[in-house]
Amino acid sequence: MLEVRSLTRSYGTRTALAGVSFTVGAGEVVGLLGANGAGKSTLLRTAAGLQPPDSGEALIAGHDIWAKPLAAKQSLGYAAEEPSFHEELSAREYLAFVAAVRGLAPAAAHDRALALARQLELAPRLDEPVRGFSHGMRKKLSFLAAVLHEPRVLLCDEALEGFDAPSALAAKSEIRRLAGHGAAVLFSSHVTETVERLCGRVVLLHEGRVARTLAREDWGAGDDLHSPLERVFLDVLGMALAGERR
């Protein structure tokens, strides 16, 4: 459903992605973990069609996002880490625009937008300009727009950071529901507790490469200080750093 093949991207002399490859199957929620600057956001922005790769490809529901962008983006939802909007529009106007561009049936799209907005506690502010929204509300709106059309591939770039607890719970339920209906979800986060509860598999990125792929059974139990996945993540990171020093 989501297939990333040998994705490479550099910024000047700094390599952000160095031949990253992995797949996320239908119905799977895969976590994407990595230290700051590991290449997570670059990977997600490249896979979402926001910035082109130097080489490699990202297939969304079988379509290369850069070769066949329209077909790929019909199946794609992307919740941004730092969402940007037309600040003068109201949230409802923005969602109406997204629904029209995606060719959704107006009445059904409106009902779904309203239902999701209620779950995310955004409904009372739907008719206010986005420029007055807090960071958390902007992220909720970005998430809402990303899932409005029930995408077949959902890319979440630290999408739930900044959500209040009830909204985060609602968003996680929506992600699980979409996966239950066959969507492939790639979920990037720094909060390992969220990843280990939500994801069935985790891809660990380190300096633009896939350092390791972990299945749920790989991360076992934690300790007093660390969650299970956090401990494994730190171990892998430590091994990678030790390997570099050698």
Binding site: L50, L70, H86, F97, V101, P106, E128
Partner: protein, 406 residues
């Protein structure tokens, strides 16, 4: 008067120097060459525009008349510099660049001084035409006047830009509640970046429509609400209406046509600026993941532009009664070409610089200024320049498909 510790003064001076050095290095060689060429064009243009009248003034009114004329030119440039500084100071008051200044242990007065210095930088642009005007006086004015005028100009520019910044700060820094009791510099920092209170907008209707129509609808909503695009549209609309007035007010049809075309071209230029701003101004993370093509982005802006221009041209053809029939029929056809050229230049620059509305608009105005200088130097050369610019912008359109992060 607030006493500012000397170490803070040094720190802010160092910051100013580093910012200037960084900006200079970020321009790159190519942009420096372009800027130098534009400056040379502006200087040459000013030189000849001042030199000839100065010579005339010397013949008819003597040395005193010539000195008076050059003083008036330099005075006008000083006032332009003041207006530029004030305009920039207002912009910096609304969104002061840099960190959260109030979180730092610095006096707001020194931050104000720093921002005022930043605001005065664009005013230095008037030094180029001023220097050219001064050079135009060589061989015509006495040495004493040539020595005195630049010194007076420099002092007046420094004084007027400072006053303009202070005035702009007082006008722009309007706080409410406790903020209104603070000094202006402090009040400006307190009220900057504070989001506006959540005014309600009439609930949007979800519709089934083609992507380019949805984008055009979004453009309309954004353009009618946002300050900058709305100002452009208002200016364009005013110039459009003004272009119709000569048909009623001028008895001589050829004069009426010339004036009407001038106002119409001005309106088209502003519509082009709007197109550049809107086409480049779509936020990447909101629009790029959507199934929108370059065709949609182009059509969403080109269609309303063509419809608006077509409607105005039709009105012109109807009002141009004093002209012969052939001229009336030819008017919309001959005016449509420059109108479309200006509008498409703005649109194509905006689409090829997606995510960078400021750069698109600056480039657009740079082309217009080059075209203007070209036409003043050699009649119609400006249109050749603008056609070349439009061809180049059109060739760059595929860049819309591969955006880089802004």
């Amino acid at each position: 008067m607030t006493r500012i510790p000397p170490e803070q003064v040094h720190a802010f001076r160092a910051l100013g120097r580093r910012l200037a050095a960084r900006r200079a290095s970020e321009m790159g060689l190519r942009l420096w060459l372009v800027a130098a060429t534009l400056a040379a064009c502006a200087a040459a243009f000013t030189y000849w525009q001042v030199r000839v009248p100065l010579d005339g003034a010397l013949r008819h009114a003597g040395v005193a008349g010539a000195v008076r004329l050059l003083s008036l030119v330099l005075g006008g440039l000083v006032l332009t510099g003041g207006a530029l500084a004030a305009w920039r100071r207002v912009a910096l008051t609304a969104a002061p660049p840099g960190p959260e200044w109030l979180a730092l242990p610095v006096e707001p007065a020194i931050v104000d001084r720093h921002l005022a210095r930043e605001a005065r930088l664009p005013a230095l642009a008037v030094v180029i035409p001023a220097a050219a005007a001064w050079l135009a006086g060589f061989g015509l004015l006495p040495v004493s006047a040539l020595l005195l005028l630049p010194i007076t100009f420099a002092l007046a520019l420094a004084l007027v830009t400072r006053l303009a910044c202070a005035l702009a700060l007082r006008v722009a820094a309007r706080g409410s509640g406790p903020a209104s009791r603070l000094p202006a510099a402090w009040c400006a920092l307190v009220t900057a970046r504070v989001p506006a209170a959540g005014a309600r907008i009439a609930p949007a209707v979800f519709r089934s429509e083609a992507p380019h129509r949805a984008l055009a609808r979004l453009d309309r909503a954004v353009s009618l609400r946002a300050g900058s695009p709305r100002a452009r549209l208002t200016f364009a609309l005013t110039a459009m209406v003004a272009s119709l007035v000569p048909w009623f007010a001028m008895p001589e049809p050829l004069q009426a046509r010339a004036l009407a075309f001038a106002a119409f071209a001005l309106a088209c230029a502003e519509l082009g600026a709007w197109a550049a701003w809107r086409a480049a101004g779509d936020p990447a993370s909101a629009v790029r993941p959507l199934p929108l093509s370059l065709g949609d982005a182009w059509l969403a802006r080109a269609r309303p532009l063509a419809l608006a221009l077509g409607a105005v041209l039709l009105v012109h053809a109807l009002l141009a009664g004093p002209l012969p029939v052939v001229a009336r029929i030819g008017l919309p056809i001959s005016w449509a070409l420059p109108a479309l050229l200006l509008a498409l230049l703005g649109l194509h620059l905006g689409l090829s610089l997606a995510g960078r509305p400021g750069a698109a608009e600056n480039l657009y105005y740079a082309w217009l200024v080059t075209g203007l200088f070209g036409s003043i130097t050699i009649p119609l050369l400006g249109w050749v320049v603008l056609i070349a610019a439009c061809v180049q912008a059109t060739r760059r359109l595929p860049r819309w498909n591969t955006p880089e992060p802004a």
